[in-house]
């Protein structure tokens, strides 16, 4: 059974909770006691409807303020697959949480209120989906019931979003679905009120998205986490390199190079847990034995011999700043790429994005919390990363503050 990781962004006003609640209801993923608890809470708050955001806004601060602050994870399963929804806040001040939630998503749902059309929030959500190179974006035009299920309204929003996507440079697949989540129109079942819409309802579309297709087709990149030496009689000479195959596939017998040493050997055995396997795919945790004793340590990468890779020590990247303290040029950090950490310095700023207009602004002196833009970074030793656009699983990094130890930025290599 496969897993589709999905990101949703938006606020209560867009009907996001109603939509998620609908998906949970209609796939029988919410239990009676949880539902009753939400009903009771809604009543206590004096609401005349069941506020499904109470299901997901689990923190005391969120309940106090009636907003989503942090990413919530919601789970449901159909006969086809398991779904993990990272439900993220829509407000601009929580952009970092939105990126956190969306970073593992293969698809995202951008909600648009049919009455209001494209908003600043729509622009930001689409921009972040594009930044993360999410392959499948569903533009859910919700509250169609409040515009009399009018096709022209839907078409005009569609045209606007398509124009926006082109401006942003979004490269994935855009799918538009007119919805009335409150009544279930086009959520799980086709809408009788919108016979002019010939596409799939939301769930049916989600069921059809291929999973991990892109990661599997890319060149193999195996990030080494540790070396296993059992020192037991039975496994006296065993030396297993544990790690994650972040992209591509590997097979027993294949020749691999170790980065950075460039030493070569052939794969003798691959273990998935305690079982030997002949081949492995993107996303799997493995333990690999090589034919030769090669010096390999944590943070190294194994790649197939003959497949190009790049070595970087000074590079441009898109960066999202996530700390309260502004980022200034010359500051040093620990840069983590995969499991590898290296000292790095922020050389210079190229531009920052104005989130209201999605325009680039030059002459930048600092990045404030939630700023997204382009920077230049220098590392103390080379890293073996791909361009994010070529291989997202090997093209992103985080910056860790050396004093607070906090994760303060995420970067996408250009």
């Amino acid at each position: 059974m496969d897993v589709l990781r999905l990101a949703t962004a938006g606020s209560v006003d867009d009907g996001k909770s109603t939509l998620i609640g609908r998906l949970l209801y209609d796939t029988k993923s919410i239990t009676k006691d949880k539902l009753e608890a939400v009903e009771a809470s809604s009543q206590r708050k004096g609401l005349d409807f069941v506020d499904l955001s109470l299901l997901t806004d689990g923190l005391i601060a969120e309940r106090e303020q009636g907003i989503t602050i942090d990413v919530a994870h919601i789970y449901f399963a159909t006969d086809t697959r398991k779904y993990i929804i990272a439900d993220t806040p829509g407000h601009v001040e929580y952009t970092r949480n939105m990126i956190t939630g969306a970073s593992n998503a293969e698809a995202s749902i951008v909600l648009v209120d049919a009455r209001n059309g494209v908003s600043e929030q729509t622009r930001r959500h689409l921009f972040i989906s594009s930044l993360l190179e999410i392959d499948h974006v569903v533009v859910a035009v919700n509250k169609m019931d409040l515009v009399n299920y009018d096709q022209a309204t839907f078409e005009s929003i569609k045209a606007n979003v398509e124009g926006l996507a082109e401006k942003i440079g979004f490269k994935g697949e855009l799918t538009f679905i007119p919805l009335a989540a409150k009544y279930g129109d086009n959520v799980v079942t086709p809408s009788e009120n919108m016979s002019w819409y010939s596409g799939q309802p939301l769930l049916q579309y989600l069921e059809s998205i291929p999973v991990h297709k892109r990661d599997d087709a890319l060149p193999a990149r195996f990030h080494v986490q540790a070396v296993i030496r059992p020192h037991s009689d039975e496994y006296h000479d065993f030396r297993g390199y544990t790690g994650k195959l972040v992209s591509g596939s590997l097979a027993v017998g294949q020749r691999v190079s170790v980065l950075p040493s460039l030493k070569e050997s052939a794969i003798k055995a691959i273990y998935a847990g305690d079982k030997k396997v002949e081949g492995a795919h993107a996303g799997e945790s493995l333990s690999i034995e090589l034919e030769d004793d090669v010096d390999i340590s944590r943070g190294n990468t194994l790649v197939p011999v003959g497949v190009p890779h790049q070595q970087l020590s000074q590079f441009s990247a898109k960066l999202t700043w996530m700390d309260e303290q502004p980022l200034t040029a010359g500051k040093t950090f620990l840069l983590q790429h995969g499991v590898n950490r290296i000292k790095a310095k922020l050389n210079s700023f190229a531009h920052v994005i104005d989130m209201n207009t999605i325009e680039e602004k030059g002459d930048v002196r600092e990045f404030k919390l939630n700023d997204i833009g382009e920077v230049n970074i220098k590392t103390a030793k080379p890293i073996f990363a791909d361009r994010y656009a070529d291989n997202p699983r090997n093209g992103a990094f985080i910056l860790i503050d050396e004093y607070s130890n906090n994760t303060v930025a995420v970067g996408f290599i250009l």
Binding site: L59, I60, N104, T242, G273
Partner: protein, 302 residues
């Protein structure tokens, strides 16, 4: 909908959990696996064994024994430690009571659930653990739904939901300051059904109380409580025998039984799929207030 696929475990979740457990071993000096005797922590043991195969698991299990555990749980714990070759460390809530650090609750809802936090924090300090791996899942409860995989606790073991580190892609940042420690949740993304499907596909052993058996119970607040020397009952709470099993395993004083005839994993899975009550619906400790879990987590509970 057919039942075929829903009863298959998504292997991707196992790969994710093994990756996380290996990161713990690599990033921390003194990790421990928090073992409760429940199916989630038994699953963690299975995953840890696979993560380091064919070597031994490079960290111990830590069990905080409240003294109110089901005897079956303790028996299973000792068996699993032996079978897995993992070191087992036990610390007792009774010791914290004897030292005057905590006071036993009184009344008919008295339990040692809150008390074990103190024993746990003391054990972390005594044994200098910098990372504790736990079996909490995000689908269990709404405060847990917001928790990161690597969750930093301050000097006092407290969780600050507003100061959580962003967690991007699969890159885990376990760097901490002296005195801080990290709680790690490798099966964050598993649901109750995922755990059961995994147990079945892996052919794992679990304590016998998860399966249907005859037991003496009382009925209170619409739930079935197992009788034990630790449960304070009133005169009108007359014990009776019933065929039950436990869906979640905590202390005998705060875990309710469900009426069930399920004697096999297949039957248990079928039952869970049809259940209209959530797993923690049978946990009396969660029912104290709407934010009961977040409040306990703030002071260091799992």
């Amino acid at each position: 909908m057919s039942a075929l696929n829903l009863n298959k475990f998504p292997r991707e979740l196992e790969h994710e959990a093994i990756y996380i457990i290996r990161e713990v071993a690599a990033q921390f000096e003194r990790p421990a696996l928090l073992f409760s005797g429940g199916k989630d922590s038994i699953t963690l043991v299975q995953l840890a064994r696979k993560a380091f195969y064919p070597a031994k698991v490079p960290f111990p299990m830590l069990h905080i024994d409240t003294g109110h555990n089901f005897p079956e749980t303790i028996e299973f714990r000792d068996w699993l430690a032996k079978e897995s070759g993992m070191q087992l460390i036990v610390r007792y809530v009774q010791d914290s009571i004897d030292q005057g650090k905590v006071k036993e609750e009184t009344g008919k809802y008295a339990s040692r659930n809150m008390l074990q936090t103190v024993t746990l924090l003391d054990a972390i300090e005594e044994l200098k653990f910098d990372a504790c791996i736990g079996g909490a899942r995000r689908d269990e409860e709404k405060a847990r739904a917001k928790e990161r995989i690597f969750s930093v606790r301050d000097d006092f073991g407290q969780w600050d939901s507003k100061k959580q580190r962003p967690e991007l892609f699969d890159m885990l940042n376990g760097k901490i300051n002296v005195g801080e420690n990290v709680r790690v949740f490798p099966i964050s993304n598993w649901t109750e059904l995922d755990v059961w499907n995994y147990i079945r596909e892996e052919g794992m052993d679990i304590p016998s109380i998860y399966f249907s058996h005859q037991r003496e119970i009382i009925e209170r607040d619409g739930l079935y409580w197992p009788t034990s020397p630790y449960l304070n009952t009133s005169e009108d709470e007359v014990p009776f025998k019933a065929t039950v099993r436990f869906r979640t395993v905590g202390d005998m004083t705060c875990t309710a039984a469900v009426l069930s005839e399920a004697v096999t994993l297949d039957k248990i899975i079928e039952e869970i799929r049809e259940a209209t009550i959530s797993e923690r619906g049978a946990r009396i400790d969660d029912k104290r207030s709407e934010a009961a879990m977040e409040k306990r987590k703030q002071v260091g509970y799992f």
